[in-house]
């Protein structure tokens, strides 16, 4: 069965080759906004992973019933529905975190990565590949958020997941907005460097929005 390796390829594609944040550079807002602590980054990653997978599956199921002219608005409504589900769940089960980042959870609806995967992949493929594509993209996003928030919390507060780890004077700048921009910029540069050095790629992050 060759399809198993195909699914694995789809997941790997989302994690490295088309990593939503470092490579395709879509949906950058959450990368800076909620990555000041590992816990926030983790929950945001889980939320996006869930929404992306469910949206891909839903869009793939209904892809034959949607008229091409109204497909973008229809996808928006599918996404908004799943985001509402996530939003209400978070509000019920993770109150403390929700108070801090509720707005950002609601804004998942506007993240370009989710709409772009629905449009580019799920609308043209069967349910199972769409599921794995969503999973791969979600994991790639999750991974990027974890990496960024790991460095920011470690350097900015000297702790991980709220637990003090190292004993030094924390660099306050890393948990300020500024630090978020620096961290994403430097990590993105690093990813490009790895790509040029070891994989012979062009090394250019995708632009746009």
């Amino acid at each position: 069965m060759s399809s198993t390796s195909n699914y694995w390829g789809l997941i790997k594609n989302g994690i490295f080759a088309e990593n939503p944040i470092f490579r395709v550079a879509l949906s950058l807002c959450p990368a800076v906004a909620v990555s000041s602590g590992l816990k926030n980054g983790f929950l945001m990653g889980v939320a996006v992973l869930f929404v992306q997978t469910m949206v891909n599956v839903t869009v793939s199921i209904i892809r034959r019933f949607i008229h091409p002219k109204v497909r973008i608005p229809s996808y928006m409504f599918v996404i908004a529905t799943w985001v509402t589900v996530t939003d209400l769940m978070m509000a019920a089960f993770a109150r403390d975190v929700y108070r801090q980042m509720g707005l950002y959870i609601q804004l998942i609806v506007a993240y370009a990565i989710i709409l772009s995967r629905a449009e580019l992949f799920a609308s043209k493929n069967k349910v199972a590949p769409s599921f794995f594509d969503g999973l791969g993209m979600g994991i790639g996003f999750f991974f990027a958020l974890i990496v960024i928030s790991f460095f920011r919390e470690l350097l900015g507060k000297g702790s991980l997941w709220g637990i003090p780890i190292v004993d030094f004077k924390p660099m306050l700048i890393m948990i300020l907005p500024t630090g978020g921009f620096f961290a994403v910029g430097i990590l993105m540069g690093l990813f490009n460097w790895i790509d040029i050095r070891f994989f012979g790629g062009g090394g250019a992050s995708g632009g746009g929005h």
Binding site: P73, A80, A110, P177, G185, M188, G189
Partner: protein
């Protein structure tokens, strides 16, 4: 006066959406390669922002609260924004093709901007009055325009700079944004609401 002026200053400078709330980055990095596109985007964005948040406010207060539909606010607000942008696109094409030719492409991009959705959500969450919502939306629009224009003028120079290959393009743009954000921190504490 319902502290309209304070809200305006707070939304445009102190809590600037790009530099302290980190929203709208997608468009921010997308259109700031050239000054011309940055200016076009700023104008279109501010106009759409004010009108769509006024619409959202009316629908939220007049329909959603009486019918207990507030849990649907994400779905409805995105519908309002997308619908309004589509309508503006069609009307502008008919009424003033010249303007459409200049600003039309930005309209389509606006729907994917998080700020355009964040403002109605914040207005609803903070329970602002109609005038407060308008002044908050205008402040956010102007703040975003300010960010776009500052960034565009820096990036035009950056084209000529000798940046390491792996940092060209977006990575260096991020580092520059970080520096501007640091400068914007200076505004915090300007007004206490």
């Amino acid at each position: 006066m319902e502290n309209l002026f304070e809200l305006f200053i707070a939304a445009s400078l102190i809590n600037n959406f790009v530099f302290t709330r980190y929203l709208g980055l997608c468009i921010f990095f997308g259109v700031t390669k050239k000054m011309e596109t940055a200016v076009g985007m700023s104008i279109t964005f501010t106009a759409v922002m004010v009108i769509s948040s006024a619409l959202s406010w009316v629908i939220y207060k007049a329909i959603m609260i009486p019918l207990n539909l507030t849990f649907l606010k994400i779905v409805i607000f995105i519908g309002i924004v997308a619908g309004f942008v589509q309508a503006a696109d069609t009307i502008m094409r008919k009424v003033s093709p010249g303007l459409y030719y200049k600003l039309g492409i930005y309209l389509a991009l606006i729907t994917t901007n998080c700020i355009i959705l964040a403002v109605p959500l914040i207005n609803a969450g903070e329970n602002y009055s109609f005038l407060q919502s308008l002044s908050f939306a205008l402040g956010s629009g102007i703040g975003f325009a300010l960010a776009l224009i500052i960034m565009a003028s820096i990036r035009e120079r950056l084209e000529l700079a000798d940046v390491p290959k792996s940092f060209q393009g977006l990575p260096i743009a991020f580092v520059v944004t970080g520096l501007i954000a640091l400068a914007f921190l200076g505004f915090s504490g300007l007004i206490t609401l």
